[in-house]
């Protein structure tokens, strides 16, 4: 029976540049951990959600391939270097291409992936970034939610990728924890309501206090 169950692929794109060093990267690690724990407590999410983590600093790397929740191991995250955001987007497109099952003549495809991006700065590879962001937006292969964290994050770049942009003013561990809690709420909600009406805007829970939706 399980062959007929579609997966909900979830990609976390996490900024691990030098500015995230210290308390912030620890809070992100903790956030990923509680996100996974929270999702495991929801039967629909546990059955359908698959998680991957892509980090970007001076390079971009898929730290964890798309994995079912029970087998997912939190990657060891370290923060240093630049913000090769463009490269991360390019890697994301590759991963979606190879990991997400497409509908074929004989096989049911996966749900449209959910991508959550967290960054505290602006891309170091602006030209690459613009090219990839444009491509990603055109391809419409995923529902992307981008969060600009802290005063230095530039929402104008995120807007090039997606219309769903959030901003949080501080990068305190409390705010980061709230962000990950909201991400888990969004994944749970999506795993329950997919297909209600195709083509409709993605339904997400209201963002936590202190977060603004960037229009």
């Amino acid at each position: 029976m399980s062959d007929f169950i579609r997966r909900l692929p979830v990609y976390l794109l996490l900024d691990c540049s030098g500015s995230m060093h210290g308390e912030r990267i620890e809070a992100v690690k903790q956030g990923v951990k509680s996100l996974v724990a929270e999702l495991k407590g929801d039967p629909q999410a546990l059955e359908t959600a698959y998680i991957s983590v892509i980090t970007f600093s001076s390079t971009a790397k898929q730290e964890a391939a798309l994995t079912e929740l029970m087998l997912f191991k939190e990657p060891e995250l370290k923060a240093s270097g630049a913000t090769m955001f463009g490269r991360a987007l390019s890697l994301l497109m590759d991963c979606i291409n190879t990991e997400v099952r497409k509908s074929t003549e004989t096989q049911k495809g996966d749900w449209r992936p959910l991508v959550f991006i967290l960054t505290d700065g602006a891309p170091s590879d602006v030209e690459d970034f613009k090219k990839c962001a444009e491509q990603l937006k055109q391809m419409k292969v995923a529902n992307i939610i981008a969060c600009a964290a802290g005063a230095d994050a530039d929402t104008k770049y995120l807007k090039m990728i997606t219309d769903n942009v959030l901003m949080m003013n501080s990068l305190s561990s409390g705010d980061l924890a709230q962000f990950f809690a909201w991400v888990s709420g969004s994944i749970k909600m999506t795993s329950k309501s997919i297909d209600a009406k195709p083509g409709q805007a993605l339904e997400l829970p209201p963002p936590p206090q202190g977060f603004q939706i960037v229009p």
């Binding site: 029976m1 399980s2 062959d3 007929f4 169950i5 579609r6 724990a37 495991k40 407590g41 929801d42 039967p43 629909q44 546990l46 059955e47 029970m70 509908s103 074929t104 003549e105 004989t106 096989q107 049911k108 495809g109 996966d110 749900w111 449209r112 709230q178 809690a181 709420g185 909600m189 329950k192 309501s193 997919i194 297909d195 209600a196 009406k197 195709p198 083509g199 829970p205 209201p206 936590p208």
Partner: protein, 492 residues
Amino acid sequence: MSRIVEAVLADGTKIPYVITENPPKGGMKYTYFSPDKSYVVQFFNESELGRDINIQDRISAIIGKYNPTISEEKGGAKGNTEKLANYFSDKYCWPYAVIVSPEFGIVCPAYPANYFFNEKSSKVYGLNLTGKDKKSNWFTSKVRKYLSDDELGNFMMMMKISISLARAIRRMHTAGLAHSDLSNNNVLIDPKTGSCVVIDIDSLVVPGLYPPEVVGTRGYIAPEVLETTVYSYGDPRRALPCIETDLHSMAVLIYEYLLTRHPLTGPKHIPDIPAEEEDFLLMGSQALFIENPDDRSNRPDNLNVTIHDLGPHIEHLFLQAFTDGLHNPKYRPTAMDWERGLVKTWDLLYPCENPECREKWFVLYDMDKPVCPFCGHRIRNTEIVKFIFKKELRGKKGQWIKYRELIVYNNIPIFSWHVYSNIFADEKAERDLMAYVVKHQEQWLLINQKISGMRSSSGNIVPAGKAILLRNGDSFRISEDENGNLIEVVIT
């Protein structure tokens, strides 16, 4: 990080609750617990909804004149006695008060403790379920493999849950109420004890009075509702949640409880369109029952246990619900039909002899084929005993017709609905033990506990404490009182 604050109820009473970060959030509302966890307070995600006069009216009516969990005397539903109110109060989490400050909200009882997992519920490392509520797909989807065996119950417990759900929904429907969002999330089940509780009562729909707000939950939305979401709200072509759509959602839940799979999710596939669009069709206009007898294109090839194994009553109900009624709401069996069919099937349950059998019980609908469909074991250590119940035709003395059956096993209890033809096993029936059957030294005996007017086939009165020896072909009055049944014994 949490703090205790007070809410003011409509009657001015103040009650405390604990504000926590990231409170549990549903599609419509979020929830805080009381300090002692005996009740919860719920507020709307969008607080404007709470200021909507229609919603306020509806909730007041649900708490008062539509409430089956309090007696009419105390302001509950019409005709509701204290006994019935007690019976139904653990079948629902029915809201009981309106909050007026800090904003509009409701107070509900917390779910009883058996609907929460504990530290022993998970059997795998890395999955801690302590405190999580028992949404039904923990038990009916592939994630059940992570639960400890002790949580999973058995087939009899799933039958008990199904009856309980059908009864709870029948009670709402006969009062003219539709739940409108029945789903795995809104019916919590405890297979360990065979109980269920219907929650999120506040989206109730009163036909013609209170229009529905929600479309429903994926997998449980009636096909016509999903299909017509392309029309705007208010368009006459748009189908909205109502009693008939509840009947679809409920049938899906019962199918999942009894067979641990979804009735519409099979291999049928529409290639070359995105998953979202495909499922919109496969759960909507092109929905097809995986066990449809005429169109097998959605039938998985590994169906070991099918609706046929659940006996003729349930098989018929599922065929009605998912073939005739799938796209024709008026052909769906009512909650009352479900309750009756399930109760009749309950009397065909038989304990599997195989100590390794996970389900422990199965429906023995054919005495010549006593095979457990779950483990494949054939009963061979004992003969099979059946009671055929006959009632006297009204106004035609001495003419008896068969109206139900009971598969008998060692120590089976006999209740009032087996004795009298005018009693149905519902919330009104007494549940005292009237008699029981035992196998004693290779003989089957019916031991009378408290039935008056029992007479054996040889014509002797059988008082309480005495027994009747059961032989194949015997026929006797289990009671000669008014509406007392005639029983025919079949032993193979």
